[in-house]
Every structure is written in structure tokens, then in C-alpha cells.
Amino acid sequence: MPMNEPVLTKRIPTHPWGDPKDRRTVGLEEFVRTGGYANLEKALDRKPEEIVEEVKGAVLRGRGGAGFPAGLKWSFLPEADGGRRYLAVNCDEAEPGTFKDRLLCDFDPHLVLEGIAIACYACRLDTAYFFIRGEYHHQAKVMQRAIEEAYEHGVFGKQGLLKGKTDFAVDCHLHRGAGAYICGEETGLLEAVEGKRGWPRIKPPFPAVKGLFGRPTIVNNVETLAAVVPIIEHGVEWWKGHGCESATGGPPSYGTKLMGVSGHVERPGVYECDLGIPLRELVEKHCQGMRNGKRFKGAIAGGVSMGVLGPDQFDAPMDFDIGRFDVLGLGTACPTVFDEDTDMVAVARNIARFFKNESCGQCTPCREGSGWILKLLTRIERGAGTTKDLDLLLEVAGSMGLTPGTTICGLADGNNWAVRTIVNKYRGEFEARVKPQFIPVTVTAGA
């Protein structure tokens, strides 16, 4: 079924259905007038378990980067024991290239809150923390206001979930981060909400069993929760009509997805597309092609940690199986596109600097390795590197490990994968920048 109407961007004018110039924050009144919170009411008429089963049946894969099915995650929760249970909403959208959740927070905050309320009701979670990154000042204000409106409207609070329709109450609080990428890692986020430094925790125990303040906790991305609303509205079969089946026999990629395109395209921005749309179509149809008609050289798949699609991978379909093109995965489906003039050595150095700055310092391979990768890439970019440096670079990157590897979280893997895919796919550029290193070998003639 082709996508013939916007789903998550129903109230946010987006090409080709609307003009982004007309975007404005949808307040409570307009949200309710256009069918808002009706799906929460619909959900409240059903048993919580039915909603979990429905989301599970829809195979709603997490939109925050890992693509783990949300319904399955929800079903990991232990039975309610009367104690507190939490929802932590991950809006720490800090990976370079990713800016899709910002769109929802900016313009349709109540859609996210409706998803939060449905998730809390379905999973019997009594407190939700909306963790928003520190740099999103405006979005934090918009969300705070929307949360207050939702309290007044009877969604949250003692008289909440639409004015005491059930005997269950949910609280929702905004928690601002303070500038640390690592807090986007689910257990790092939990530490931050507890007021500590955002060092990721060793898993297991998984957050669903032992999360915030030692209690069962579900961590979901903003867009994932927003997508719960249309699933409740239209049903599983409709949701499965969007997106695509797996090309490799793995789990399918159903539904629509917000895709934020940046870099060298004519019209960068967030577009809503069915999963599986080829990158070329996304760039040429939605973004009006490459900037100034230049040629495509490569693209980051979806956030810098996922690796780079090479010049021959412009037709790669944007689904959760994109890993078959030798990138780590779809990530957040927010590609940064590079044209033919881009210096890929500089791109690699920029990405390495990001990971070096944002490594939390807990695990030695990541803390030390990210620094060495940056040093080597800076040297190569300056033209002072040798072929040995290039080999050492790949060796250091490789030894930082892939999950389950040498580190607690996946930051080192992202660093490793980004650097290795760039060097492997654009090896010629790197080799042109380094000086050959000759190793003198002494041979005794006639021996």
C-alpha cells in the first residue's frame, strides 16, 4: 500500500502534503479538534494486555536506532507488584545527522504525550520521565507546556487518563539533560534521571527488570511512542501495509518513518516515508536532488555511528535490513548526504572527534581508542601520516570491539564502524594522503 497520506506528520505540514513554512505548534485545543486523544480513549476501553499484543503484532521496531521491537520490549516487564514502574522517554537526540524527534516536539507535542499515555496504560507504568537533551531549549519549553495542558485535560495526574476513566493514574515529568551524547544510551539515560553521571550500566539486568531507581522501566524513543497512536487508530493490518518485508529473511520493517535528510541536497529536512524507500528516491524525489546538481559520493546511513554508504550504494533501500550494504544498520534513518567535492578524510576526522569528545570514559578501549583514532586521522588529514598509520588506524578501530565486545555500551562500536567503513570504502583517498613507508631490509648477497 503506497503512502497516500501523512501519518506522524498529520498535523505538521511536510512535503509533499504541505509546506513546512506553515508549521506551527499544535496546541491542545487544535489537537483535540483534529482527533487527538481519541485513540487514548479507544485504548482505555480495551484491556492493557490487548494493546501490548497489538503493538507486538504490528512489529513496531524502535525508532531510536537499534530497531528492537517495542511490543516485545514491553512484554519483558515482570508482573505488576504494586511498586512503582517507569517509562523513560528517550529524546536525547544527540547523534550527528539525527533531528527527527525535534520535529515532533516542536510542532505536535501532544501526539507524543498521547503515545506516552497509551504506553503507560498498556504496560501499567505509573510515572513517565520525558528525557530531553539539554540543547533543545525551545523544545523543552514546548513539551513542558504541553505536559501541563495534558494534566489539565485529564490525561496525567490523579484525575488523569481522561478524567478518571480508569482507576489507573500516570504522572509525566520533563527531565532536561545537560549536554552528554551518552545519555541517549538507555542505561546512561537512567543514570542521568537518577541525578548521576550518565555512565551506561552493565546489562543484564535489563531496564525492564531493574531500571530507574531499581524498578522495572521501559525506555522508548519519542517517535516509537508517537507511532503507537496510529497503530491503535488504524490497526495492525493497516500498519503492516506500510513499509516492507525483510530482504534477508529477518524481522520485517513495517510502518512509516520520519527521515531527516541533511548535507548536500537541495531541500534538506524531515520527510515521512514508508520504510524501504530507496535513498535515491528520498534524495531525488523529496529533497529535489543533490545540491547544485553535483554527483552523489556517499551518505551516512542514519546517524554517524551506523557507518557510511558508498558511491555505489545510492539505491540502498532505507529499511532495517540496510545492514546488508556493509553498514551497521538503519539507525535513526536520518542520512547525511555528501557530494563529489566532499573530503572523506575530513568526514572521518569529524566523526572521530565527535566520538572522542562524547566517550564517557568508563571503558578503557573506548576512552583511549577514540583518542588515538582522532590523533591518527588528524595526522593523516594534515598529510603527515604514513601507510603504517592507516593500518594502525584500522587495527585500533577494530580492537575497540563489536558488541558483545570490549565495552559496556555501543559507542565504541559506532566509532569503530564509522571509521572502518569510511576507510574501506574510500581507501584511495586515504592512501593518496599518506606517505608510503619503506622498511629497510638487509639482505646479504650470496649467503
Binding site: R84, E93, A94, E95, P96, G97, T98, F99, R102, R133, G134, E135, Y136, H137, H138, D171, H173, R176, G177, A178, G179, A180, Y181, I182, A192, V193, E194, G195, K196, R197, G198, L212, F213, R215, G260, V261, S262, G263, H264, P268, G269, I300, V304, C334, T336, F338, T342, A346, V347, N350, I351, R353, F354, K356, N357, E358, S359, C360, G361, R367
Partner: protein, 183 residues
Amino acid sequence: MSWKIVDSGNAKIERRDEPWCTEAMKARWTAEIIPRYETRHGALMPILHEVQHEYRHVPYQAMIELATFLQIPPAEVLDTVSFYEEYTVEPVGKCVIGICQSIACEVCGHQALLDHVRDELGIDPHETTEDGLFSLLAMECLGSCDTAPVALFNETLHENLDIPTIDRLIAEARQVGDGGSEH
């Protein structure tokens, strides 16, 4: 979050008689922030945001006051303050200019902006001008890659920046003395 070695064993903390965390502030925190969290420690980050906002840094004495208030060791407060980039132990300028240096901004020309602001203010990234008016930060992704290059002036994001616009913003900040942006 890069690692800095600090000789904390021999450090002397500057103290003043008047507390940084006033009774009025504490009363409000008790009423509004503490009930939101299961533990008192949980309230630390929102409280630190307020202290940083109020004084443009988190003084060591304030950390000790907060530790007493939240009934946690002072080291835990320092731990959190030193980990997050938004909290600083030295005062930042009245107008903090944070230029995004991540990938989309770099490929769309952030370096010219950064160099220009550096020359204009005479400071390097992560420094503050002597008059205490400006701090310059080279920040990682600000989450607005479609409108690159971007920069934060205090809490306001400016998109699709070029040098004339940034000159105008700096001039405005000089005129009002606080960045001309909502604080």
C-alpha cells in the same frame, strides 16, 4: 566530557558568607522538584540547571550546600557537575555562543563561522572574553542538521547562518549586554 586532571587534593574552595542556594530557592525545590523523583539525588540535575542559570556557573560552595540539602556526599554533586557540559565551575559569559561543529555543519561550512567569531571576539573555543560578555563553544550536534550551519546564542538556535548574520547577532548582544536572547 573530555578528561581533565585536577589537583583536587590541594584545592582550596572559595567561600563567602552569603549562601549561593537561598532559602527561597530551597523551598521551591522542595515543593516543585523533589516530589518528582523517588530519591532526593534524582532532583540534582534540574536543581543544577537552576543554579547554573542563576549564577552562570556552579560554585564549589554551592555544591557543598546542595549536598547538604539533598543529603548526598559532596563528591556525588561534583561528579555530576564535572560530567555534563552544561554545568561549569567557572563563570561563563553573559552570551554563550555555541557553534555546531558536527558533520552536517562541517560539510556546510561551519569552519568559516568559527574562525570569524574567534577573530571577532579574540578568544578560542571554550574561553570567555575578559569583560565576561561572551563565551565561545564549539559544540557537538545541535540537532538541526537540515538548516546547517547552526549556532546557539544562549538558549536561542539560529539556523542557516552566515557571517553577516552572526556579526549582527554579536553586535546585538554587545548592545544589550546579555546576548539579546531569552536567558
